[in-house]
Amino acid sequence: MMNVTKRLSAMFAAMIMVFCTPLLVFAAGQTELRDDAGLFTSEEETQLQSELDTFVQKTGWVAVIYTNNEGKTEDNIKPFANRYYADKYGKTTAGVMLTIDMEGRAIDFRTKGDAMYYFSDDRVNTLLDDVQYEMKEADYFNAAEKFLYYVDRYYDEGIPEGESNENIDLQEKEDNKLLYVVTHYGIFIAIGSIIVAVIIVVVVKSRYKYNGKAGTYDLKKNSKTMLTDKQDIFLTKHVSVTRIQRDSDSSGGGSSSSSSGGGGSSGGGSRSF
């Protein structure tokens, strides 16, 4: 019996490890400069890459500058950027990302993992104000430079205290579903499981206590019915109508995930230019 317990415990631990493993896949400290919109010259790209490398070496974060023509606007660029980062670097890997969509005329600044806590609402707005200004001026290189300047500066300044952090959109469920289930439902699952186990044990014990108590008289086997009169007289009939409650039409599915695009927790903000 003890061996069985040990085996089950080991299986349980293995299961938890399997679910946690994806969190460990992505390594920190990577850079990406992807200029699909063709905003930078090769010299500018070289300089930006060099600055990205320097920043990453200092912080250990991921740093991404991504320009494209996806057509995302200020309203929907956030989930797109969040998903892009999560797919490539992981939902909880610390890092910063600037996304510029030339088709949709929108910019997005994303912070992920521990990096979220370095950027208060004021810092995000300051960064976005300057980047937005440069984008409106069509000075794309300077926009990227401003991004790098502020992330480097705020990293140096450290995590601000007492400042508003409403830009952070926590998605615990997406970040680590197991942790989310354990922290939010674990106590109920544990109590429920223990109650069920106790009920089963009590039932087993009582079955042992009352062993052989059931089914002593079989009425069907020991009886006979001989009807001399049998009448079924119809008296009345009534019909009732009830409205079937149907689920209200869904609005395209995944409304909750659309806010974060399934990319997990992130901070930052989006603007148009």
């Binding site: 042992y208 089914g215 020991n222 009886s223 019909v239």
Partner: protein, 374 residues
């Protein structure tokens, strides 16, 4: 009161009923006898002894008169003496030793010579049972049934199944009342038939109400109740069911080799309870005639008893009482079918381990469910 010692007609050794052969067997000369042969043999023997007994009675009466004069001389020479605890003392017809029994004992074994002793007077006259189901399960088969049951019980303590328990396994005929009744019954009930269907977003439910009138004869057989106060009612009731089709008209000889108890509960003491049960059964039978209804509610019911028959029946039970960790646990095995009854101890360690495994598995399933469906 006379004691009967069923002895082998060939060698005069003790004779016992053999459940495997369903015959009377002599363990010494290996002879087997049918129940009819034994009945005839002992009937003739009894006739011969009757005349001698009359003479003996006269002598005993004289002796009693003398004994009354000598106030302190009540002693063991009498056939029957009552003790303060309502126990009764007999002389073993085989070895002459005193056999102490309770007031309800009808058959037992001599403590000294182990020969079977049937206390014939206990089951004669108004106390003569109508029928008996002979033991079908030998002691060994009863033990096998017990072991078979134990094998299926995972939570029994390891040291529970012990050979020493089986030495005390005793075959006992317990007394029961069986009641057969025929009643003429009338019932008026309300029956409902419900059907529903869906049209668009609406569910329609149609309920048709009927008045159900039923009249007829009901036969309810083999409603049983123990006829012995001293034994645990649950044990005596729950060792059922028995197949009454295998019952024989009562013959004293079936008791040889087993213990037997005479009834100490009379009809009038249990009549009310039995009638209440049969009332319930009859109403259920009438209700069962209303098939096809989703709900049946009896509005009026009455019946009268046309026929009623009470049968005083002896049923075979293997009984063992054992101590386990200071607790006395009685256990019974149906002597006909092998059905077991009795409280079983549980291993706390095994139960805790089982509970822990179940809890861990449920937690794992709960987490998995959370991961998949949240």
């Amino acid at each position: 009161m006379a004691t009967v010692n069923y002895t082998c007609p060939n060698c005069a050794a003790p004779l016992k009923f053999n459940p495997d052969k369903q015959m009377f067997s002599c363990e010494y000369c290996m002879s087997d006898f049918t129940e009819k042969y034994i009945q005839d043999f002992f009937a003739k023997k009894e006739q011969k002894e009757n005349s001698a007994e009359k003479q003996e009675k006269k002598e005993q009466e004289k002796a009693k008169e003398n004994a009354a004069k000598q106030a302190q001389s009540k002693d063991n020479t009498q056939a029957e003496n009552k003790t303060e605890e309502d126990a009764v003392i007999y002389n073993c017809p085989s070895c002459g030793a005193q056999v102490v029994t309770t007031a309800s004992t009808a058959a037992t074994t001599c403590f000294y010579c182990q020969n079977p002793v049937v206390l014939g007077g206990r089951l004669s006259g108004e106390f003569k049972p109508d029928r008996v189901i002979p033991f079908k399960l030998s002691k060994q088969k009863a033990i096998d049934k017990f072991l078979e049951m134990c094998k299926k019980k995972w939570f029994l303590p390891k040291d529970f199944v012990s050979e020493k328990h089986f030495d005390k396994l005793t075959g006992v005929y317990f007394p029961y009342w069986y009641v057969d009744e025929q009643r003429n019954a009338q019932m008026i009930a309300k029956g409902e038939k419900v059907r529903s269907w869906v049209v668009g977003d609406d569910r329609y439910t149609e309920t048709k109400v009927y008045e159900l009138r039923r009249t007829g004869d009901l036969i309810v057989k083999n409603v049983f109740e123990r006829a012995l106060k001293s034994q645990d009612r649950d044990m005596l009731q729950c060792v059922h069911p028995y197949d009454l089709g295998e019952a024989h008209p009562f013959a004293m000889s079936y008791l040889s080799g087993f213990q037997a108890e005479k009834r100490d509960i009379e009809k009038k003491e249990i009549a009310q309870a039995v009638q209440t049960r049969i009332n319930g059964y009859c109403q259920q039978l009438m209700k069962d005639t209303a098939s096809g209804y989703s709900a049946v509610q009896i509005q009026s019911y009455n019946d009268k008893i046309d026929l009623e028959k009470w049968n005083y029946t002896l049923l075979p039970v293997w009984v063992v009482t054992y101590k386990y960790k200071g607790k006395i646990l009685p256990f019974a095995i149906n002597g006909q079918t092998g059905k077991t009854y009795g409280e079983l101890p549980t291993s706390i360690g095994k139960l805790i381990a089982c509970g822990a495994i179940i809890a861990v598995v449920l937690m794992a399933l709960g987490l998995l469910g959370g991961l998949l469906f949240l």
